[in-house]
Point group: C2
Chain length 439, copies 2
């Protein structure tokens, strides 16, 4: 069989890992793919650094190892796209810029397969990329785009085909999970834990996308596409990040045998898809509560096979690269037969405020008799059944008020809070935090 | 594309689940396979029972729903094997009898694909079955044979192709894990927990294969074949079951923050494959300690992507059937391109007594001063470093002696025990239990 010739665009953390594995595993990849996987070209602005870090001979780099100007790099990319020798391109530049978006389209329109870890691009601007791939009958590998090393894409696409996904959820951002784990284990405030994450390489200098839930949202959008067959526009899926989680919240969770985790959750109920990304209180009886540090975990609840959980590293160089290399092997072996995406469905994407959970509502209030009765009544007026109310942790004039509800919608809770704000605004000494409870 | 016509042989718990899913998911399977999956025939001695349990119209059964004599069933099986209409046969009769073995060979030699959950057959008598499949270029789906619903076969075969498996381990027998969990949680002795498992449908009337480790060994043998590419003969992989685990052992594990689990473990070290199936002490810091009840978990340690864990239901009707249906879809979609088994390797299968772990050794001894020194010396004489020794839980004249070693081989430990038996046999008031410790 003809060899599969590949080119790597961008030789940073992930691209370099791909080159490393492809060069180290040549024999084994040939056995797995039943054809050789040949690395032909790497385009990288600073080859010397990448060459040293990943032990890649300089001869693999366009320009033979000398630094490239952006214009030179573009010329090499153009040559690769124009070359009939290259069968598959690995895009590991990253980001959702017009440049990368157009680059991916050009790769596809030149009849080459595309493998990428680029979740931002595929989640926000993937529609025309997947459409172009259909038209050109080329394959897109994106296992690495969701939870790094965890093979959740292929598992849903190839292993759960004899089932129906009812819900998919999990811890899909390692940085935020590392921060929350440090806050809990080391009793740190958010800022201290973030600094630690940056010092230890778990968070970038600009950690916004990790801590505001944006990165997790990209992953959930891709999983919704795969598991339920619908395209959801980014802004239709509102997210809450972990920036406002305090040590006090973590301590309180501890007291009720739970841990706070940034959870992605999507669920099908009667033809409607509900989804949310936000901090949740995961009870210690739930497996996800045990997933600590930078580890990721995806939980799929299937109609016929029940709950299945996959746990692994959500980021890292060879960890993410492994998923890319496995995609290359899969495309080399199965090529034409692969379906990039499942058949589209007509499910309605519901308003996240209608997502039913048991919720925990916490806020500060005064140390004033009558508070419990008033707030419990306001909540009950919205037809919400209350499981427990506590008005404790009194510190001088300030106390922590918490209500654990029976399953209800976020909208009901927001209405109740609205009513309290209107009638007795002084009772809310801090903006209420509303977290779903996962048992 | 031509439809994929299938026949089911044996419509019990698993075969019935397959029929149910194939009939309920017709549209979805067609989308996933890009061709129709058509159930043509079911051979079952007592169709009425299966029809009712799984809502399968009687018309699908050979003989139109009347009970079959074994001779009639055989005739129907012969017809299916001879029929050019059938593309794929699902063997859900079970067992490793000559009848089932020959049946599978005949299916393959007639040019039909085979999908089965039959771990005993494939692990003990699979060699000529896989060889025949190579010769006939037909595909064998056996995802359901290892840990029911957990897609570990496809994950190793299709998702970790860009990696190297260093070790594979896990909890692969739900019955024994249920029993151990009950012993621990409910403070039961083994016999009581076994009875409970039988009452609740987690253990069969004859639970031998589940509790003596035989079933777990079948699964590990198949995983060794897949992950490392070598065939191991059943008896080369010695097993220890859970029959001799006592409440006292469980309590002792609890005291050292561990749980006793029946663990399958295979590991590659310098071209040698080490493997064992036996009760191990899993420290609470290890994820596997949290896997309770009838749940299964497989842990793969990969060279490039590190530790990956898959958790799910290891048995059950639609749970196991789901894996079979997914295999049918995979064969329908990818057919010829599928590799049944990875390329064979020349690794040496090592003696399990050379498998290095930290071990815990426990036995009863007399309440006699000098014991600790003598035993610790005997162990040290075998070049084993000791981590902790305790000689406690004194009950009258009997005490529990335990030694936690640093990593060493089982052979070293057996030699030490041999020496103690020879010089001071009275010190061993019970046969020592030797359990690897998993951190």
């Amino acid at each position: 069989m003809k060899a599969m010739n590949i080119a790597i665009l961008g030789c940073g953390t992930v691209g370099g890992g791909v080159a490393q594995i492809v060069l180290e595993l040549q024999e084994s990849l040939k056995e797995r793919a039943s054809t050789s996987i040949c690395l032909k070209k790497i385009v990288e602005l600073e080859p010397a650094k990448a060459s040293e870090r990943f032990s890649i001979p300089l001869s693999y780099f366009c320009g033979n190892g000398s630094n490239l100007t952006p214009a030179e790099a573009n010329q090499h990319i153009d040559d690769i796209i124009a070359s009939s020798e290259i069968d598959l391109v690995i895009e590991t530049i990253g980001g959702k810029s017009d440049f990368v978006h157009d680059l991916c389209l050009r790769v596809i329109n030149s009849g080459k397969h595309l493998v990428t870890a680029n979740k931002a691009l595929l989640a926000e601007r993937g529609k025309d990329i997947f459409e172009a791939a259909e038209k050109m009958n080329v394959k897109i590998g994106f296992e690495a785009a969701v939870c790094g090393s965890i093979p959740i894409i292929k598992t849903i696409k190839e292993s759960f085909t004899g089932d129906k996904v009812l819900s998919v959820s999990g811890i899909m951002n390692g940085t935020s999970n590392y921060i929350l784990t440090q806050m809990q284990g080391e009793k740190l405030e958010f800022d201290q834990a973030l600094k630690l994450a940056q010092q230890n390489g778990y968070a970038e200098a600009d950690p916004s996308l990790d801590i505001n839930g944006g990165d997790a949202r990209h992953k959930l959008l891709l999983l919704i596409k795969l598991a339920f067959g619908i395209d959801v526009v980014k802004d239709e899926l509102p997210v809450i990040g972990i920036e406002n989680i305090t040590k006090e919240d973590i301590d309180f969770a501890d007291e009720i045998d739970a841990r706070i985790k940034l959870i992605c959750y999507a669920k099908k109920i009667n033809g409607d898809i509900y989804a949310t990304v936000r901090p949740m209180l995961v009870k210690n009886s739930n497996f996800l509560s045990e997933v600590s540090g930078a580890t990721n975990a995806v939980r799929v609840n299937n109609k016929y096979s029940g709950v299945q959980i996959l746990i692994g590293k959500g980021a890292g160089s060879t960890e993410t690269a492994m998923s890319i290399v496995s995609d290359i092997v899969f495309i080399a072996r199965y090529g034409d037969k692969i379906q990039n995406l499942p058949v589209k469905k007509e499910y309605n994407f519901a308003d996240a405020r209608e997502f039913v959970f048991p919720y925990l509502i916490t806020f500060h209030t005064g140390n004033v008799p009558g508070t419990t009765g008033f707030i419990a009544t306001a909540i009950g007026s919205q037809q919400i059944n209350i499981e427990t109310v506590s008005h404790n942790r009194h510190a001088g004039e300030k106390a922590m008020f918490s209500v654990a509800t029976m399953p209800c919608t976020l909208r009901q809770i927001e209405n109740a809070i609205e009513a309290i704000k209107k009638e007795r605004p002084e009772m809310l000494m801090s903006e209420p935090k509303i977290m779903p409870i996962l048992y």
